[in-house]
């Protein structure tokens, strides 16, 4: 699938934004959020700005962005529509939570309730984002049970690291939350590895023989394409990435998204003052960049069944997804 920048930025940035709000809400419920008006405003504005920027970027992908409001209407059947509704609806509890944290931080019960509500809405939003992709049958790399846990864990992990970094930058410490983030990084890493193994090992069950129905005559090869040049179908769904690049990018994504953030956040546990804050900031920045690369791969490595008609997948099926 064509890795469109607008969609990669949308899923990565809104994932971080909603993840940050979710972890802040959860921390509030456990009484782990420090009382600081400037921290509350900075963290929530940062999260909502990322979520908004992601949503705005997703509009760039549309052929008719001025009609985007229509996308809110079909939530009964469409995960994209549900995502839009959930993303916008989440702003209500999130703004309420932000206001309580900033201006009534001592009202712990109220803050906890608003926090849990925000957490729930954010998780639902990110789950809807994941389901847009996980519901598409023609794309084997997306239509599996690991996509949803991947999106959720990566969103909570990146958001959590940013919140932990901000709390440290404001001079507070929330050890329990930092330990929770370290565990999240490990969990997200494990889930991503399972996903990569899954798409490399499990065959899609669809090939050029069943796509054309000509398997009854023996091995099927594409002889001539309908057109000499690239068309929309091949540009949008026939994106090809070299095996070497995929392996290298996967190694970079592994390091940036998981290994560096894990080491940096473990280091921060034992480092007080600016060193600890700096290393958590490095963890958050690396994780954000790593997840962006991971998301690029999520698209670039995914194969659509339409490419079977062009004889593109039979020779190297699954090759680029093994790293």
């Amino acid at each position: 699938m064509h890795p469109a920048f607008s969609i990669i930025f949308f899923t990565a940035a809104s994932g971080i934004g909603y993840g940050l709000l979710a972890i802040a809400g959860l921390a509030a419920a456990f009484g782990l959020l420090p009382e600081s008006r400037s921290l509350a405003i900075t963290a929530t504005v940062f999260a909502l700005a990322l979520a908004s920027a992601g949503l705005a970027a997703s509009l760039l992908h549309l052929g008719r962005p001025e009609r985007a409001w229509r996308a809110l209407s079909q939530w009964r059947t469409s995960w994209l529509s549900r995502e839009g509704v959930a993303a916008l609806a989440t702003f209500a509890p999130a703004l309420g939570f932000a206001a309580i944290w900033a201006f009534a931080g001592d009202a712990k019960v109220l803050l906890g309730v608003a926090g849990l509500l925000t957490f729930g809405c954010c998780v639902v939003t990110v789950a809807c984002t994941a389901m847009i992709y996980a519901s598409l049958k023609p794309i084997h790399a997306w239509r599996n049970r690991w996509v949803l846990p991947n999106y959720l864990s990566l969103s909570l992990m990146t958001g959590g690291l940013w919140l932990a970094a901000l709390i440290r930058l404001w001079g507070f410490r929330a050890i329990a939350m930092e330990v929770f983030c370290i565990a999240l990084v490990a969990l997200a890493f494990a889930l991503k590895e399972i996903y990569w193994r899954h798409i490399a090992s499990k065959p899609s069950g669809t090939d050029i023989a069943s796509a054309t129905g000509l398997g009854r005559y023996g091995r099927v090869r594409a002889f001539e394409a309908p057109h000499t040049e690239e068309n929309y179908l091949l540009r949008e769904m026939g994106f090809r990435i070299g095996r070497k690049h995929a392996a290298r990018l996967r190694a970079i994504a592994r390091s940036l998204a998981f290994i560096i953030p894990w080491i940096a956040s473990v280091f921060a546990l034992f480092a007080a003052g600016p060193a600890g804050a700096a290393s958590l900031l490095i963890a958050a920045l690396a994780a954000s960049l790593g997840v962006t690369i991971e998301r690029w791969l999520f698209f670039a490595e995914a194969r659509h069944t339409v490419t079977l008609y062009y004889g593109r997948d039979d020779a190297d099926a699954g090759a680029s997804s093994r790293a």
Partner: protein, 260 residues
């Protein structure tokens, strides 16, 4: 609405039956489709750099060619592909705006270009590559089964068929109601062992493909179609009279000429 309408008893399912035995891969169906539809229901079908080095444009129908089998058993098979108007069209249910819909009355899958936002998700949801994005208008376009021909009272009844069916010089394309098991197209599918593309996807396409006639092929009895389904418009999808001397190709040809 992106709900797929409930199929009723006797649901009309208009669609195409494509005979891979007779298709010669001439691309006339694709050209006639482009010609009709560029000023039809989904018009225009834009072309980008049509006379340049890399021409590109929107087509509803594309003709692939395949080789299957090895050696003396190998065959070259021309393979036209357009929207299959599926019974389970995920392209419809994923649409966030309701622009994509399946008609309750005849099962045709259409796009309302006035409300489509051009998110392209429907083209991702279609395993067959039936939908193409019109970068000029910013909306998705697709085969309409020539909805502006098949019900068009300004056309003669024999012309009320999709442009691709009308133009096919070898009669490899058949149009009719596949929801009616007694219709000529349904009987053709039955007799020739018509099949679905990617049945494992579960989209339940309405359009069917007929395998090659081959006496040695266990999938086909080698019999010619029992009836002629070309040129029978939606308004008159009826059981045609049995042809005299259906087994004799000369008589069949005469029958066709005289029926015009």
């Amino acid at each position: 609405m992106t709900h797929v309408p409930e199929a009723r008893a006797g649901q009309v399912k208009l669609g195409l039956v494509i005979d891979l035995d007779t298709c010669v891969g001439c691309h006339a169906c694709a050209t006639a489709c482009k010609e009709w539809n560029t000023s039809g229901h989904m018009a225009p079908l834009p072309d980008f750099s049509p006379y340049g080095a890399a021409p590109d444009g929107v087509w509803f129908n594309r003709i692939h060619s395949y080789e299957a089998g090895e050696g003396v058993d190998g065959r070259t098979i021309h393979f036209p592909k357009s929207c299959l108007h599926c019974d389970e069209p995920a392209c419809v249910t994923v649409c966030p705006t309701g622009a994509s819909y399946k008609r309750a009355e005849d099962g045709i899958v259409l796009v309302n270009a006035d409300i489509c936002i051009g998110c392209k998700l429907c083209s991702w949801a279609c395993p067959y590559g039936a939908r193409e994005f019109d970068a000029d208008a910013g909306v998705m376009k697709k085969c309409t089964l020539c909805i502006d021909r098949i019900y068009n009272e300004n056309l003669d009844v024999v012309d009320r068929v999709p442009a691709c069916v009308q133009v096919c010089p070898v009669g490899a394309r058949h149009f009719g109601d596949l929801g009616d098991s007694a219709s000529p197209v349904s009987r053709l599918v039955e007799e020739r062992g018509g099949f679905d593309l990617m049945p494992e996807m579960g989209y339940r396409p309405v359009n069917k493909y007929l395998p090659r006639r081959d006496p040695a092929d266990p999938f086909t009895p080698g019999a010619p179609p029992a009836c002629e389904t070309r040129g029978t418009g939606a308004a008159s999808v009826t059981d045609p009279e049995p042809m005299p001397g259906a087994a004799n190709p000369v008589l069949r040809w005469l029958d066709r000429i005289l029926s015009l």
